[in-house]
């Protein structure tokens, strides 16, 4: 998708002015965080599991080459194939190639953020292949031709009424006056529509919550079972996954699974957890005849051993989105690309460039709640700051902001200047206030007074008052 991250301010303004979105975000904030809290309360060892999960990922990243090659060898031994893709374009071409060889007309898809990252749907359509999203949320936004606004709840920005309207507009062969008020009616209709595609699809594309090196498996978690229909029914199964999804063993995968659902939805475990290991073997009653793993780098290996290294531990649970005050205010689309929330604000600049995504690391209060809930203990605020530092170093911030900061730190580093200058400024500001407690408008502080009053200072600075008091004490 074409990024709109550079227009973050406008995107945010629009989001704030969209009542359905605001209602949805309030609902999200009232739901996921509480459910996560309850799930963790039921599990006294959760903090230790977080440490264990983090250690697994750290170890894996330190030996990424070894585990990826082990994974490839296992996939080959199972009769599958691994396709190493450096960037989105290579991944798209690889997938199209596999689809063409399979003579595919319809491709079913289960939810995959990597497939969003490489915008595979548009690409397949342009080449005459029909991709069908089978996760309910993804299905809805595919009909609306919108990007996901949340990692695990991609259509969270929509109301049930909006979904009903979308279904009426898209499912034109159904009776116009059918009732679609109940969520179950929407669900039933989507199931009925998808059933035929599940049965006729030639290729199934899934993502991977993890790749397991020791077995050459990919792990899939869903609550709808759609991934299982996507990878067992068609002749060909394509897994699209980024390189950091690898874990060494099944035991490691089970530890990550134990923190994943609890952090994401507050479930102890997702409804479906599937391990796919290669194509159908002789004697297997079902399963695909071909098993391909499209392994995507897309800039990730460049993050290794940089200040953004820890970001590669992310398991896409969305806990940071669910607890972020900025995400809660503006939702996912405002971030302007595939990802959103704190993890998006760190990852997007790495994937589409800091120039385009310049707003994202700055549009954060650095409140730290994301880091406190991240199952992988990723220091997200520290990395947001690291992007800011890079912007400052590369002189990518406005001249006035840069000048202001330099002038301020020059003065603040010199108490002998700072003291009289601030005393003078505060006295002037106090006089301007003329016994009112606040200002509705102030020159140079338009950003503040646009939405809030500026409190008037009490009068003199503390240091002035303290010095005067000390002099009085000295005289008496």
């Amino acid at each position: 998708m074409e990024p709109t991250s550079a227009r973050f301010k406008n995107n945010a303004r629009e989001a704030l002015d969209t009542p359905t979105l605001q209602a949805a975000l309030t609902k999200l904030a009232d739901g996921f965080p509480g459910r996560r809290r309850d799930a963790i309360a039921r599990m006294p060892e959760f903090e230790r599991l977080r440490d264990a999960a983090r250690a697994i990922k750290e170890h894996t990243l330190d030996h990424l080459d070894v585990y990826l090659e082990t994974f490839e060898a296992r996939v080959n031994a199972n009769g599958g194939e691994v396709h190493w893709c450096a960037d989105a374009d290579e991944a798209r071409r690889t997938i199209l190639d596999i689809c063409r060889r399979a003579g595919a007309r319809t491709v079913t898809k289960s939810k995959s953020m990597i497939s969003e990252e490489i915008a595979i749907n548009d690409y397949l359509e342009r080449h005459g292949i029909r991709p069908v999203e089978t996760d309910l949320g993804e299905y809805i936004i595919q009909l609306r031709r919108e990007p996901p606004s949340h990692i695990i709840a991609p259509a969270i920005h929509l109301s049930a009424a909006q979904v009903a309207d979308t279904f009426r507009a898209s499912h034109t062969r159904r009776p116009k006056d059918r009732p679609l008020d109940e969520p179950t009616a929407l669900l039933d209709e989507a199931r009925a529509e998808l059933r035929e595609d599940f049965l006729t699809a030639d290729v199934g594309i899934t993502g991977a919550n993890m790749l397991v090196a020791e077995t050459g498996s990919n792990v899939l978690v869903t609550n709808e079972g759609n991934a299982d229909l996507t990878h067992t029914l068609p002749r060909v199964h394509i897994v699209v996954a980024s390189i950091e999804k690898i874990v060494p063993t099944l035991e490691d995968a089970s530890i990550v699974l134990r923190v994943l659902a609890r952090s994401a939805t507050g479930q102890d475990v997702t409804v479906y957890t599937s391990f796919c290991t290669g194509p159908r073997r002789t004697g297997d009653p079902d399963g695909p005849r071909e098993y391909h793993v499209v392994l995507l780098d897309n800039g990730r290996s460049k993050l290794l051993n940089t200040e953004f290294h820890d970001m590669l531990r992310c398991i896409r649970c969305s806990a940071c989105l669910n607890h972020c005050p900025v995400y809660r205010a503006v939702g996912g689309h405002a971030y302007g690309w595939v990802y959103s929330g704190p993890m998006g604000a760190v990852l997007i600049p790495a994937l589409i460039g800091l120039e385009e995504a310049a707003h994202l690391p700055n549009a954060s209060t650095l409140c730290g709640r994301c880091e406190s809930v991240c199952p992988m203990r990723i220091p997200l605020p520290r990395m947001l700051r690291a992007w800011r530092e890079r912007q400052h170093r590369e002189k990518k911030i406005s001249w006035s902001a840069r000048f202001g900061l330099t002038a301020w730190s020059f003065v603040a580093a010199r108490p002998r200047f700072y003291r009289p200058l601030t005393a003078l400024a505060i006295r002037a500001l106090g006089n301007m206030a003329r016994n009112r407690g606040r200002f509705r408008r102030l020159p140079l502080l338009g950003g503040w007074t646009r939405v809030r009053d500026f409190p008037a200072p009490e009068g003199e600075t503390f240091m002035t008052l303290w010095r005067d008091a000390a002099e009085r004490r000295g005289q008496s």
Binding site: K9, A12, R13, L16, P325, V326, R328, A329, V330, N362, A363, S364, T365, L366, C367, G368, R369, S372, R385, W387, E389, R390, Q391, H392, R393, I397, A401, L405, T406, W408, S409, F410, A412, A413, R414, P415, Y418, T422, A425, I426, R436, G437, R438, G447, W448, R450, V451, R452, D453, F454, P455, A456, E458, E460, T461, F462, M463, L465, W466, R467
Partner: protein, 267 residues
């Protein structure tokens, strides 16, 4: 991190009591906007048995530069703080985020500069947020203060997550006569201040503050208390813009019995 009572920690047996030397870092916002908080901190510390000094060479902790990615600027400012407070046994700050800046980020800021890294680490180790210092280090359990109001406490983010300030202000506020403390569901949610964030993204910031304000109003509180001037100025400014008469104060003013001045942004 020292956690014992400063008196007992420095009290020689059978000798006269040595009062711990505390350097008070009033912070730039208290210095400029609300000196009352500085005097309240001073009073609370002295009543808790500390010998308080207020170095004249202090300015700011450097947070605005640090959070803007200007590490060089932040280092310049941090060096003045490190130098100003080198000789004190403790450094106490009436702000969770300035204390967090020193405690958590100063050592990071000077990584690779051996001399200053050591000096920064030494300052970090002895730096405390005011209310947690009073409760955890001085062992203060109650205060002699009165304020007839219903109050709710806002956990400022850095105080909560970097300095572990949560129970201490509530415990001490419980001893304030006439004050009823009500918990907000969103007490731990950011107020939308975020330093320069609130002027760079005012619309988003205001939307975040409005969540906080709705929560404050839902508690029925007449007063909002907190430990960080930045958050308090933001909350007060937005409350006033929306025509609310809820008063906003720094928790130190209330604990010191100095809440007779008009509240922040109040007449």
């Amino acid at each position: 991190m020292p956690s014992s009572n400063p008196q007992s920690a420095t009290r020689p047996s059978n000798a006269q009591i040595v009062r711990p030397r505390v350097g008070l870092f009033v912070t730039c916002l208290v210095d400029l906007m609300r000196p009352t908080v500085g005097f309240a901190a001073l009073k609370l510390l002295e009543e808790a048995g500390c010998e308080v000094e207020i170095p004249a060479a202090q300015t700011c902790c450097g947070q605005p530069a640090w959070n803007s990615g200007d590490s060089a600027g932040a280092r310049r400012v941090a060096k003045t703080a490190i130098t100003a407070f080198e000789t004190h046994r403790y450094v106490v700050v009436p702000s969770g985020s300035c204390a967090g800046m020193i405690r958590v980020h100063y050592p990071e800021l000077f990584k690779g500069d051996r001399e200053w890294e050591e000096r920064a680490a030494a300052l970090a180790a002895k730096t405390h947020e005011l209310v947690s210092f009073l409760a955890d280090v001085c062992g203060l359990r109650d205060v002699k203060a009165r304020l007839d109001t219903i109050a709710t406490y806002h956990d400022s983010c850095s105080g909560l997550r970097e300095m572990g300030v949560k129970a201490q202000p509530r415990a001490l506020l419980a001893s304030v006569q006439g004050l009823e403390l009500r918990e907000g569901k969103e007490a731990e949610t950011c107020c939308g201040f975020g330093g320069l964030f609130c002027v760079k993204y005012p619309d988003v910031s205001a939307a975040i503050t409005d969540v906080k304000i709705a929560d404050i109003v839902a508690t029925g509180a007449k007063t909002v208390l907190g430990g960080d001037m930045g958050c308090l100025m933001n909350i007060a400014g937005r409350l006033k813009r929306r025509g609310s008469d809820v008063a906003v104060r720094h928790v130190a003013e209330v604990l010191a019995g100095m809440a007779d001045k008009p509240p922040i942004a109040g007449d």
